[in-house]
Symmetry: C2
Subunit: 379 residues, 2 copies
């Protein structure tokens, strides 16, 4: 079982926001931590997104705590929602004896219902009393909605330890199932460097299962670096560690796709640029026709070609090679390809002969179960 | 039963491209017809798209015939595919004693398999022998793939008659199920006017079930005006008729959505512009979470708000009113809303208070049946 990096504690309680189970989680740093974050680009960001953005500005990118609830998104809740998010952070700040601006807040769950902030306020003393360094998984459980397992990823190098949590199990990419991720490290990292590392990492991880401008009202990724290890690793090491942790979390999300029966890694090579490769990968990954073909073990490579052609990327040639694992799809042995598609873990490689850009994108298949889960989520 | 406009004949045969049933259709004009067309923006247009584009340029936008096959898309078939499309048009031109450039060609079906052009060539004499003015529905049947019914729409005013055919039954918007439409009229219309009318009509019809840059390799919409009525209606009349016919066809397509159990009309009002309204409507229409909520009769308006926020349209206010029929969703009677959602025909009205732009967009719900249909289409 992983432990928290030095100087961090976590806690989780059942505050009654959901009908049952853990629904309120806390990440706490005993020291001021440098904080960097990436937020949703949805035109209607949820109240906790707005409050957290403001707090990061006010605190000049330091934080002591992140308060996260599941069961209610506090989105499309207007002025009242802002007050509810604000009062939750104030209640926690009082209990922790820190400034409210040093508390970040995050929510996930149903949109458009008032946040029961009195329940959250009432649960905060118990939450703070339970903080401990050795059970981060409990926090990961508290932030789950339709997730079927808690999502944690870890990295360590030298005396520096990094731990990441994520929540998210929608088809994610095509739509707006909320994706939350929180990464904590005891490395000492100045804000500019942490911010740069986070953007690099997010581009190569969460943006490869989800997409700017096509995101939920509540999406956020936050990293806290509290320096408790006393070590300030070189920027490259921080970036690499953070990218690794975020990629592992992103893969957990794809693996836990709602109703998914298969995990799919798309490897795009020979694109005009890395950005172009990601754009192609995302277009293929969100194609319902590709996702249903994978579900049906159908080596229907025409759907892949069609999706690539819809990506908006101009290619130097229409010569494309497609592989499932090492089995060529175009003009290849379709029986072998069909056999590979029966696996729970599928790698599709797309070789474009149009440059040296590459990317990896993760997704899952689309099954009847996705429909069942989403046809009656609120009611 | 509709008849063809004056001077047009149609035919359809079973050429053996599909395992069974009609799979080759012909539209023929006894006179030179003015031809306007809109083609897919997919980066890998199918061979028939490339050949038809070239023919329209060579013939200076006149045509005598459209040859359409189902069962094989002749897409991702390379140089061989171009030759196959070309030879089909040449075989038909010989039989009709017209120039090959006056024959347009269109295909729909599986991508990436060689077009059996020898079967098409072999069936052409029989096809031409069967041409008649009074059974256009047979043509509409021949161009079906996963469609469950033939799609025809008609308009008449004064002595002018217009008839439209369409094929398409995918989720269409989010992806790349092929959409084909052919409209024929005995009005006399100069090319510039016909082209302008077609673009106007397509923006308000097929683009409201499908979208530029997010289309199949084979999509095309063609209108032929042969002037056989001797009447040259005012441009407004042509535009209005063509828009009406295309909208009816677009609605048939949404109604026949793969696995759909409900037809949904989205009415967007108060947008910054008509274009913005369409963009919002399309984003909502393609959201799997909105579509599954409708299937589950779940008045989960948060998903609508979230999808609107993902459209990329900047709104003047976050004040949004949502209605199912006349039942308000936000702060409304959700039991009544749930009741309305049980209907097979649902109208969702989105009022944005950000201008006077409006649009109507058509879609369907997303059901398990969609998965069944698409999980094994080729095999």
């Amino acid at each position: 079982m992983p432990e928290s990096p030095q100087g961090f504690k976590t806690a989780a309680v059942a505050a009654g926001i959901k009908k049952e189970g853990l629904d309120l989680g806390l990440i706490y740093s005993v020291r001021h931590a440098t904080a960097a974050a990436v937020f949703t680009k949805n035109a209607f960001p949820a109240a906790p997104v707005l409050v957290s953005k403001r707090h990061l500005l006010e605190s000049q990118h330091t934080a002591r705590a992140i308060l996260v609830n599941s069961g209610n998104a506090n989105a499309a809740t207007g002025e009242e929602g802002l007050l509810a998010a604000q009062s939750s952070t104030e209640a926690l700040a009082r209990e922790l004896a820190c400034a409210p601006a040093e508390v970040l807040v995050s929510s996930t769950g149903v949109i458009g219902r008032p946040l029961p902030s009195e329940r959250i306020g009432g649960a905060i003393p118990q939450l703070v009393a339970q903080m401990r360094p050795d059970d981060p998984e409990r926090f990961a459980r508290a932030i789950m909605t339709t997730d079927t397992f808690p999502k944690i990823a870890e990295a360590a190098s030298g005396h520096v330890h990094m731990l990441g949590f994520a929540k998210g199990a929608g088809m994610i990419h095509p739509d707006m199932a909320t994706m939350l991720a929180f990464v904590i490290t005891d490395a000492s990292v100045p804000f500019q460097e942490l911010d740069r590392a986070l953007r690099h990492a997010v581009d190569r991880s969460f943006h490869c299962v989800t997409v700017d401008g096509d995101t939920s009202t509540n999406d956020m990724v936050v990293v806290l670096a509290n320096g408790a290890s006393g070590v300030a690793p070189p920027p490259d090491v921080v970036t690499e560690q953070l990218t690794g942790v975020c990629q592992q979390l992103a893969k957990w999300i794809a693996r836990d796709g709602e109703g998914a029966s298969k995990f799919v890694e798309l490897i795009i090579e020979g694109a005009p640029s890395d950005d172009a490769a990601r754009q192609i990968g995302r277009t293929v990954a969100r194609s319902p026709l590709v996702k249903t073909a994978i579900y049906g073990c159908d080596p229907n490579w025409g759907r892949l070609i069609c999706a690539i052609g819809n990506s908006g990327v101009a290619l130097a040639t229409d010569q494309i090679d497609l592989y499932i694992d090492d089995v060529p799809l175009i003009g290849g042995d379709l029986t072998a390809a069909r056999q590979r598609l029966r696996s729970k873990e599928i790698t599709i490689r797309i070789v474009l002969h149009s440059g040296s850009g590459q990317a990896r994108v993760w997704t899952c298949d689309l099954t009847e179960q996705y429909i069942h889960i989403n046809a009656d989520y609120t009611t």
